[in-house]
Structures are given as C-alpha cells and as structure tokens.
Amino acid sequence: MTLSRRNFLRASAGTAALAAIGLPARAQSDTFIVNMFGGRWENDWRTHIMPQFAAQIGKDFDLDIGLGTAWISNFRAAGPENPPFPAVMLNEKYTAQIRNDGYFAELTTENVPNMADVIEPAILKGNTAVTGMLAPLVIAYRTDLVSEPPKGWADLWDERFRGQLGLYKITNSAATMMAMWAGEHFGSGRDDVETAVAKFKELGPFPQIGYSAQLTPLLSQGQVAVAPIDLGEVKGMQEAGIPIDYVVPEEGMLVFDHSFSVFEHSPDKQLGFDYINFVLSPEIQLWMAENWLIAPTNKTVELPEELQKWPLQPEIVSQAIRFDWDETLAIMPGLNDLWERTI
C-alpha cells in the first residue's frame, strides 16, 4: 500500500469526523456533576449511590474524578464566583485551604436537615463543611510476622518493629497527622516539627507510599509487617485471606475527614444542599459503613451486628485525635520541607 495524497486526506477527514463525534457540549446544565475519588470509590458511587440521587432530583449525573490538589487548583483558577459544580467533597486538608476565601455557603439544619443528626466533630470550622465520610486510620499488622502487636502509635518506635514498618509520604495527610502527633507526644507541641521529623528519622529506612491502597500490596506480600492504614483496606485484605489484624491505637485513632461543602455562588446551590443532605442520610451513611467501613457521622445510623466488631461507632470515632487544619496548613510547608530533606 502506498500513501497517496488522496488517501491521506481521506483518512484525515475521516478520523477528524470520527473524533468529533461525541464531543460533549460545553454547557451541561441538565447534568448534576459532583466530584469523587477514583477506583472503587468512583465505581461504587457511580453504580450504587448517584443513581438514587439522580432519581430524586430528576437529572442525569456525572462524576468529576480526581484528587484534592487538582480540584483546588481549578477552584482557584475559576474563582469563587465561578464554581465548576454545586457541591464538593474534599479532604479537610484541602477544604481548609479555601474555606476562608468566600467559596462556600454556610451549612445549617435549615438547608441541610440531616445535619441535625451528625456527631459534633463532623461539623467543621466555619460551618461551611460537614464530614460526610469519616475513614478511620488504624495500625494494621501481619499476624504471622508480628508476635506482639503494637498497642498504640508510640509502639511504632519499639525496636521490635525496626525495618518492618510501612508509612505514608508527607504529602499524604496521614503522615502530616502522624508527624503532628509525634511533635506533641515526643516534643513540645504539634508545631514541634524538628522533634517530629527527628523521631521519624529514627524509624528509617521505611517505604513511604502516597496512598493507602499502595500500602496494601506491601502488607499483603509481607514486605512490611506493620503500617497505619484505612480500616477498609484491612477488611479487604482479611477477605483475601491475608493473615492481618489491626489495633485501634490506645492514644486514639486518626481519621481521614472527607468533608462536603456547597459553593456559595453556584446557580444550583439548592441541589448542592440536597446532595449533602442525601449523603448524610442514614441510608447512605449505612451503605458506606457496610461497603467501605466508613464510620457514619449520622448518629441515627444503627450498625448491624456484623459491623459491631469494627471501630465505627459514634462514641469511638468522636474520640479520634483531631487537628485544626488551619493551624496545620501553617505548619505544613516547614514540616514537608524538613521531612523531604531529612527522611
């Protein structure tokens, strides 16, 4: 075959025509869009959760998949007057970055009735965000590799776990929380980043991973024996037959706060309130507990018997170690820099 001019032009035109098919219209006002994490989160949210809300509001839906950094960059570029969608789900670390800049509407029990039933720690600073997903962070350990399990965070510094630990990168909020806890426990306070980083340096060398799901293969293959990790990952490994168990640290567990906010200037602000109310409803909170081991923040959720063995009860998660992310954000640049240079 030879490439003639005519063939080339034909092929180009054909490809362009094919490529143009299906380009979505720029404005999709008939579609309700919210953000969500990828992987199984997206799959489940798209399959099990959003169809119910779409039916409730009588609109199609779509999900904007990504991570906090990219979302925040986009919100900043768009400005508070031009939000890309009505409601947003962010890790509290990211919510705190823009909550004082006029992006979010105040959440009240009038516009989000289910907020009347949420646990007190779920109402976040400024009343512009509410925790809709509370993911407990516990210490997991391989039962076949660890004879005496750790009891709490401080035990990670015990000599018996040297070389067996897996930890998060400092870019993950879990590492930030652990560093602040170490600053407070071993040093003069949560802002004592020098002590915190020095203490983590003692634990080295250890693999640093970006996200919980990347710790799972290390634990599954026995490359590390002890690691802080999401409860949901522990359940997944147990179901896969991995000899693994966990402890709720005696000092208190840490939690990933996935908070929900409504953009003040969204033309679909009411839909944003409705969406958050839907997420906080007992039905959806229970679904997340049963399927993801996310702790319900709605106090009216009654956990079934099979979930009672997990630390999801309101009285337990209410005692988790919490952080003021405004203060944390002020500490983070110095902490991250010192961590990267030291560990």
């Binding site: 075959m1 030879t2 490439l3 001019r5 080339f8 180009s12 490809t15 362009a16 094919l18 490529a19 143009a20 299906g22 380009l23 979505p24 720029r26 999709q28 579609t31 869009i33 994490f37 990828g38 992987g39 199984r40 989160w41 997206e42 799959n43 798209r46 779509d62 999900l63 904007d64 998949i65 990504g66 991570l67 990219a70 960059s73 986009n74 570029a77 768009a78 400005g79 031009n82 890309p84 969608f85 970006g210 996200y211 919980s212 799901a213 990347q214 799972t216 293969p217 599954s220 293959q221 896969a240």
Partner: protein, 270 residues
Amino acid sequence: MSDATSTFSYQRPVGLTFGVLIVVLYVFLMAPLVMIIGASFTESLMIEFPPKGLSMQWYVEFFNRQDLVDGLLMSLRIGAITAIVTTAVAVMAAMAGQVISGRLSGWFQLGMTLPLLVPELLTAVGLLFFLYKIELGRTVIGLQMGHILMSFPYAYVSIAAALRQVPGSLEEASASLGATGWQTFRLVILPLIMPGLAMGAIFAFINSFDLYTISLLLKPLGGNTLPLALFDFLTYEFKPTAAAAATLSILLSIGGVALVQKLVGLQRAF
C-alpha cells in the same frame, strides 16, 4: 525485496562490543514493557512479575470498568485530533521557518520548541488560568488546546527536518514550469515530506496519549484521559487491571509505529 525486509537494509555489521551495548540498551528499554505485559496476565490479585499462572481476567475487568474504558476512548479522541491539528499547524510553521534566514531563524526554531523547554506543570497552570479567563476552563476544547500545545514541538521537529531535506531547486523548477504555490506544495513538497509528516503525527498522538500533568489540570468536567483514570485507579486499587490497560496502550503505540512502516517505511521516517 519486500518493504519489510528492506527497512533497515542499509545497516552494516557492527563490532562485538557495540553489539553487546545495543543488546544491553534494548534490554534496558524493553524490561519495563516486558514486566508490565507479563504482570497483566497474572492470576494473582496483585501486580507482580513473574506472573502467577496465566489469565485474561484483568483484560476482562478492564473492559468491564466504565471509568477506564471512557478514559481510553477520550485519550484516543483527544490524541487523534491532536495528531491531525498539530501536524497541519506544524507543516505551516516548518514552511515558514524555511523562509526565515539569519539569526531570526534560530530564534524561530527555539520558539517552536518552547513547550518542551518550559516545565509541563508551569505550562499547565498558566493554561488553566488562561482558559478560565476565556471561559474554556474544564472543557474538552481547553484540554484539546493543551494537548496540541504540548505535542506541537514533536511534530514540528520531525516535519521541519523532513522539509530541510527537500532541495530548494525543486520548488524553483516547479514554479518555472508554471505551477502555483499550492500545486508545488501539493504535488512536490508534500509527497517528499510525507515520512516526516507521518512520523510527526504519530509522535504527536503518542505524546498526547501519554500526557498526565496537563490533563490533570485541564481535564473536562466528568471526563478523564486514560493516564488519569489509571492513576486514579492505582491510587485506590493496586490491581493488575492497570497492567492490562498499560499493555493495551503499548499495543496502540506499536500499532502506530506499524502504521508508519506500512505507509511510508520506518527507514524514510527517521
């Protein structure tokens, strides 16, 4: 002699040391590909090499995952448009570069490759704010513009190199025989630069298909390219489905190279 056997027929025998170096280089280049392709056929729940058992289950899962398939389709669509638009613009730019002489020529060439010289993240952030200013933030068109910008230098370098091989006397001869500028381009220049043009288009497509950072910031609402979808997938599910997706991407790239070989021959393209 067939096209296939004549592709690299000009090569001469090489010395043993050089040969060993080439083998080492190929092992270095191919090892990651072999590992990821191998891992995609494992029966295990984790990405691992060598694979345990032999299974196609991760390919089945890939095609059952709407997020990954949608990402693949969007990447193919964006890549195809990028290849076509970039190639057309790069041809015009390369021809303009031909007629610029002296010191200005060097600056012109540099300007055409600027997207390669500026860190992709900085370009992405700049474009992000620019696109919101012109109300194209988080749209397919905005993402498309970013991909065309980042892929342009690859097409330009390939096409400009091909254009430099065309003797100026041919254009003069064509003009002296009464051909118009368009006829000269269509009947003389275009056939001669076709290998470089095809290679430029392929490079643009492959580059677009792989772009991550710019896609991360510019992707349309509700849309994802395959690299983004894969990263999102790997962030929360470290399963061999990602290896299957990577293998399909590799096959697509090989398909592109095979297309160049079929159309113009690899020897002429490089």
